[in-house]
Point group: C2
Chain length 356, copies 2
DNA sequence: CTGAAAGCGCTTACAG
DNA sequence: CTGAAAGCGCTTACAG
């Protein structure tokens, strides 16, 4: 490891001077010295250690990338293509702006606290945290943070969040199904496990809770369905269990209902694709007998047959947005809005067919 | 930020003493003091800053996770479920052992050098680096490293690598296709872009190069095909272009050949699934008319219809192995073997049918 | 134009 | 049993 000291000795100057040219405080140094030192710096590929900088009271330039869930659909969260793409976007952008990304398994709050303070991270990107969880973390850790896909029960956000237009997405989905001849289409979403002390419990004690995002998607869906008059009952919002086996049994059970509705909107591509396969395995044809619309436009939406019609979200854009907001906060800006969202648009492929 | 100093003042002792109880050097401290200090430590959720540790000549406990390719199949590399799962495994294991993971976009060698020295990382996990590229990096950076899926042209490895049994996987694939009645099956793999100065160029100047891993998979495939006598010509090793459009044209062009062979082995699930869809879109039935075997067993292999028969590799196991080897090196062990591999097994699903 | 010195928050060998 | 002091590799306000 080559030190500032070493460079100074080679150049026959003090550490101060080397440090000065390193940081471009070059007005107080003669051009000759600057050139000489720069050359030596280059030749030795000198790179300042970051440890001392942190000691010397500079920021760490580390961004913690925290995944709120360890597992999604039974796989490690980082394996999910959504998280992967988000991480890629954040990491890329961070690299451009001279920040570093440390991955933090967000399963345990303790761990987040530990890493965040030990490394004195400049800020946190928190993925898929619930509002309650964030507030709890917040109480114990005073760091800049931007959340991705956190939803609030209140009218207004009082923390930074990057999300998508869930309502709009649901609306587009609903409109399209309606237009294609499915005024009785169902909206299906997977149940979300909620921490015992989440406020969310109040919301729907009557029925399994599918998460705030799906709640909004459903609202949009419902509004679209009612846009030509008529009423879209809450009974058309189907919440299916988290366990894959149980979910399958549920699908089995509601098969007649599915066939009658003829059109299905989903809270995620994952479940939509699963349904396509479920139907396929029973000899039911999509989209001939049942039309299906997904949500997210994951990598595999184009890969399934029939190719999935789905509400597209731009994950990379979200990642960049999240990082940029965080960076600006770190660098001292005060951001006016608390909530920004990435627009959303229906991508039409082959999984919906006009009802004859 | 609460400092060691602060704790010391609260306890009315010196920093030394606090540091000592922090590190369990407790034999020289009275039990009473220990208890008192511990209590204060707890109450204030004190966590030592890591910056000074690095200064004080301790390791950083940072592991750099470097992806050799920025994009795979046209998507950001971290989005690839393989990379994602690997990262999850490494990160998880690192967390258990008290290490931290920093993500480094491996596109530029410069960047790797920069981060590795600035942060004084303890070691590097390098994913999908070519041998030449690794050696070049190695020349400029003296860090412990474990590679994942790097292949060598030499007989022996002289660097740490964690891989899979490509030959064995190819062999299992070939045996199965042979057994199911496809003695003329083809092996199809995607071309690999090779850096201009890779030695690999010597290997196959005659024909596009599909990567060393596929070379080994093909060798296994070929050996299996020849296991009952007969000869498996190199012409059955089909290297298809990297560009998706060009690849499609190629498939189009070789359709008669495909139908005649009736059985296809692939270098990756990605291409296998692509082929299934390609055939599906032309009304050709898999596995009735063409049988397909993939390689890797990615998340979506179970998701396609027909479900993909493929050679399974345990990515999580690989990640853990890679991290553990690195950790042992960091902690001073000398590892006897240079190469370890994760075994591999054929997972039979629905994409192959016995030839009638 | 250049450098000596103090400071960042930690550890550790050593003295009492 | 406890603490004063030197050291890690950097930055920066200040003196010359």
């Amino acid at each position: 490891m080559i030190r500032l000291q070493d460079i100074a000795e080679m150049a026959g100057v003090s550490r101060t001077t080397v440090s000065n040219v390193l940081h471009g405080n070059t007005k107080k140094v003669s051009q000759a010295t600057v050139d000489r030192i720069k050359k030596i710096l280059e030749e030795n590929e000198y790179r300042p250690n970051t440890g001392p900088l942190m000691s010397a009271g500079k920021g760490s330039r580390i961004i913690g990338f925290v995944t709120g869930y360890d597992y999604t659909h039974g796989y490690p969260a980082t394996m999910d293509s959504f998280i992967g793409e988000l991480l890629a976007a954040v990491q890329n952008q961070a690299e451009k702006k001279g920040y570093y990304v440390m991955v933090i398994g967000g399963g345990s709050e303790e761990r987040v606290l530990e890493i965040a303070s030990q490394w004195n991270v400049d800020g946190l990107v928190l993925i898929g945290y619930s509002e309650g969880r964030y507030r709890r973390l917040r109480r114990r850790l005073n760091k800049k943070a931007v959340l991705v896909d956190t939803y609030t029960l209140k009218q207004e956000y009082d923390y930074q969040n990057v999300g998508i237009d869930d309502y709009g997405g649901g609306f587009q989905m609903g409109s399209y199904l309606l237009e294609m001849g499915y005024p009785e289409a169902l909206f299906i979403a997977e149940e979300t496990r909620v921490l015992p002390n989440e406020e969310v419990h109040k919301l729907r004690s009557d029925k399994a809770f599918a998460g705030l995002c799906n709640e909004k998607r459903w609202q949009g869906f419902k509004a679209a369905m009612e846009s030509r008059g008529g009423f879209c009952s809450i009974r058309r919002f189907i919440v299916v269990p988290q366990d894959a086996q149980a979910r399958k049994r549920r699908y089995e059970h509601m098969l007649p209902q599915i066939l009658e509705a003829g059109g299905l909107g989903f809270g995620s591509d994952y479940n939509a694709i699963e349904m396509i396969n479920f139907l396929h395995d029973r000899g039911i044809q999509v989209p001939k007998q049942v039309s299906v619309v997904g949500f997210d436009d994951c990598v595999y939406a184009e890969y399934v047959r029939p190719r999935l019609t789905t509400v597209h979200q731009d994950v990379t854009a979200k990642g960049i947005m999240a990082f940029e907001r965080l960076r600006r906060m770190i660098e001292g800006e005060t951001l006016p809005e608390m909530y920004v969202f990435d627009p959303v648009r229906l991508t039409i492929r082959d999984s919906v067919q006009r009802r004859s």
